[in-house]
Symmetry: C2
């Protein structure tokens, strides 16, 4: 089910002028967002138009998974730099508080601007004039939080490590950069304004100073997935619509089957029930080479037309591909190595993912090409059944892989949402 927006609380906008909150202004703003919300079902609206301003941080599941995918992303993975379990728990408490404030459109902490000039401000300030912009903040725990590379139980959590939370295997085509892989903790911040997403990660990193340090981070400028039937399918940097068969917020049964960890999934890791696993993969696209391929080849690699996104077997974007339909040359019309066929749930026992990836451009590489591609994010109930087989099939038999380089990889267990008075992941520590 799609999360409902909460009633808008006092936004940062109301705090301008050193704390002189103008309730009338904040109220008018909330009303404006509310009326814009009526346009959410209008597929012709631009991506960021007509979306609610705030999503509740607390709930049965963490926000930022089934939430209609926001336009912009800042993702960060952290190393924990202390051995002190209490310091780690204290940080999760502080992060929970700050995340709840920021997702409501408020500054982090208590001081904001106009506080004690002898102290550093609680909030760094670059989002002071901006609304919540649909911000969600989603936390995850990496395998290395439970055991370090030498197998050491760092925080007394080793016996709570989920069986499925282990480093992903090496796949053909992986050229992983260790500096863009792994991490003890992760934060996914999504918003319709990138400054709001950046502000969230920066303030959480600031709060964690001395307890965690940023291991790697990634900005994504454009969503590539739909997580709600109310959204239109965006295009990836190959210029194609992708992810048409994504699990969507409205598919309650599919979420239970493919996304949320069940109560009985892992006897040793009951704390994760209602949570999920997050697979993060940085996928560079060799777009300059791709752009020189004939349109027909591009469409054969994908298995869809470039214009409408319809399968090559015909119909419209949402039409199920007909993998048996014969084409010319004794080949099926959707080639045997077409991306849409290789990764189709029908090839993998019906396993589906909730994808939430973003296009990225990180400047240029040494060869003068754009350092660009897809920052793949997918939420699954079990990576062993829902991700690894699909990635393996893709790495070994997908025509698209010739134009891809996997440069970063990480896996996180994403705990369920924090209840009232709880910090995120509290059940893991109790």
């Amino acid at each position: 089910m799609t999360e409902q927006p909460t009633s808008s609380r006092l936004s940062r906008r109301g705090l301008l002028g050193g704390g002189v909150a103008v309730a009338g202004v904040a109220g008018a703003f909330a009303a404006g967002r509310g009326s814009a919300h009526a346009g959410e079902d209008d597929a012709a609206a631009t991506a960021s138009a007509g979306r609610p301003g705030t999503y509740a941080f607390r709930g049965a599941h963490q926000a930022g998974i089934t939430t209609p995918a926001q336009d912009r992303l800042h993702f960060a993975a952290f190393d924990v730099v202390t051995d002190d379990r209490d310091a780690l728990v204290a940080l999760l408490e502080q992060w929970t508080l700050a995340a709840e404030q920021m997702t409501a459109g408020e500054p982090a902490g208590t001081g904001a601007v106009g506080g004690d000039v002898r102290l550093p401000p609680d909030d760094t300030g670059e989002a002071l004039d901006l609304p919540a912009s649909g911000l969600t903040i989603t936390f995850g725990f990496g395998p290395s939080l439970f055991r370090d590379a030498d197998g050491k139980d760092r925080f007394g959590l080793a016996d709570r490590q989920p069986a499925a939370l282990r480093e992903l295997p090496h796949f053909p085509g992986d050229v992983l950069d260790p500096a863009r892989s792994g991490g003890d903790l992760c934060i996914q911040a999504c918003a319709d304004d990138p400054q709001v997403a950046v502000h969230a990660v920066r303030n959480l990193a600031r709060i964690g100073f001395g307890t965690v340090s940023v291991r790697w981070s990634q900005l994504g400028f454009g969503r590539t997935s739909t997580t709600s039937t109310s959204q239109s399918t965006p295009r990836n940097l190959f210029g194609f619509k992708d992810g048409t068969a994504n699990v969507k917020a409205e598919e309650a049964a599919a979420l239970e089957e493919h996304v949320w960890v069940g109560v009985d999934d892992d006897a040793g890791a009951g704390w994760l029930a209602g949570g999920s696993y997050l697979v993060a993969r940085r996928v560079n696209m060799t777009i300059e080479v791709w752009d020189r391929q004939p349109l027909g080849d591009q469409e054969a690699f994908i298995g869809r037309t470039k214009g409408t996104g319809a399968p090559l077997s015909g119909g419209e974007e949402m039409t199920e591909p007909d993998f048996e339909m014969p084409g010319s040359n004794d080949q099926p019309v959707i080639p045997v190595d077409a991306h849409v066929r290789v990764v189709h749930p029908g090839q993998h026992g019906g396993a589906r993912m909730l994808r939430r990836g973003y296009n990225f451009v990180d400047g240029s590489n040494a060869l003068g090409g754009l350092d660009a591609g897809l920052f793949f994010l997918a939420y699954v109930r079990d990576p062993a059944t829902h991700f690894v087989p699909v990635q393996l099939a893709m790495s070994t038999s997908d025509a698209l892989v010739e134009y891809l380089k996997f440069t970063g990889s990480a896996l996180f267990a994403v705990p369920p949402g924090a209840g009232p008075g709880e910090h995120v992941g509290q059940a893991l520590f109790t």
Copy 2:
């Protein structure tokens, strides 16, 4: 004067479905943008709301200078990889055509999707469903286009090189990365949707394959400047409003005095009259260190309050700072090394710039800090009088410089706008 939006032509949105243009849909969309335009003067509107969908590519000046600063940026610098002057001119012709198409919301080239499947598509496709999003594309010529490092006249242009178009001097605090500096040509693509800006640069790079290669490129996720009185002042990553004293589109006399190159400015470079100089500087901010400074120190470094952006001498954001007002300790209330004082036009013979910079985050650095800061862009009539003295003062006496590292630098001559039937920069080659 603010540029007026052109009447919206057929947008990419109308081309969906393999060229089945639906004029009614395109018309309805244009009407929607037009009505939204009425909100442009509402300072409380979010940055991207209420802006026209398209700006004309042709005109007396290039678009993207006085155009109300769009929210997102993709900037690219190119090396010319041919010695063939005709190939360079042909590229400028092709770039002009494609820029005119893309800024109108159309795909680049003629084929779009649904064309000859045996050929690569003319347009890479990732913006097919997106409106023009206020896209502007602005071209510039670097010093190295005229003479290479050995002084060689590469394209018979050496005697047309403007006297002011030379490499910027080394400034104290510069730790420039050659891989992020210089360039024979540049393209500044600004839009309210980053996918549209990225699409523009990518397609222009693709068109230039064999003639140019990307030397470096930079994404900016949030504008830091206002170039129109209709815009509110955004915040930089120090959390402060900056650039309050920017030259704005509505200041016709100031534009003539400080931004546009005059007919008599440079007898040997008459082709540049009506153009400008673009200074590009990648300025890393050590934001983790900054965030640990007390609020009072931060405000003293800037010379403004963090909340409203008012000068420390009082008033509101737009109030002129009083640099003589005494404070405590026999010091002026705006310290002698405050940023607002050091770079103030009053310190530099009244010289003003039209700034158009963007916040950036390019992931993380090796120390776990964010690789983040300001991508400074400024248009000036003469860099020797309008930029170099200001940068030198800043590098030597601005308190802020302790928190800055200048990691990239480039200067370009930006020709005037292309007239009907002309390519950009045509007067340079005739």
